[in-house]
């Protein structure tokens, strides 16, 4: 994850309390989604950014996951994300995300 974005995630977790922050991803692939999710839960796996070794354990989902889709206004979801559901490998992304949440998510 971009270093500046890592810095902002860390700041928001400190400002609002990690239990009040949810991270939503839009990554194009399961692997990329998993890496970003790991970064905001268990720390930056590439050891490059401000989240290196920082285990925020934030609640993190991909916008294409069923849990999130269920909460969003269906018309808006269709307009903003509908087409990408056809393009992205939603099953792969969902399974990567679930995996990371089970391992590292604290909230």
């Amino acid at each position: 994850m971009d270093l500046e974005n890592q810095k902002r995630v860390k700041e928001f977790a400190e400002e609002y309390g990690p239990e009040n922050v949810v991270v939503i991803l839009g990554a194009a692939e399961g692997e990329g989604a998993g890496l970003a999710a790991e970064t905001v839960t268990n720390g930056d796996p590439t050891f490059a950014g401000p989240l290196t070794g920082v285990q925020l354990g934030l609640s993190v989902y991909h916008i294409c996951e069923e849990e999130i889709k269920a909460e969003v206004d269906p018309a808006i979801y269709e307009e903003q994300v509908g087409m990408m559901e056809m393009v992205l490998d939603v099953d792969d992304i969902s399974s990567e995300m679930k995996d990371i949440r089970e391992q590292y998510c604290k909230y």
Binding site: V22, V23, G26, Q80, V81
Partner: protein
């Protein structure tokens, strides 16, 4: 239990996946408050 309602939402979109502003529009309808929205670019 709701995931997004009443939460501060940090959005990390992807230029080749779903971009930040598109996610933000969705999150708002679920009662989440986007506090940050970025779009990453790997190319």
């Amino acid at each position: 239990m709701s995931i997004l309602n009443g939460k501060k939402v940090v959005i990390i979109g992807d230029r080749d996946g779903v971009p930040g502003p598109a996610i933000a529009d969705c999150v708002k309808t679920a009662g989440g408050e986007p506090v940050f929205s970025a779009t990453e670019c790997f190319v």
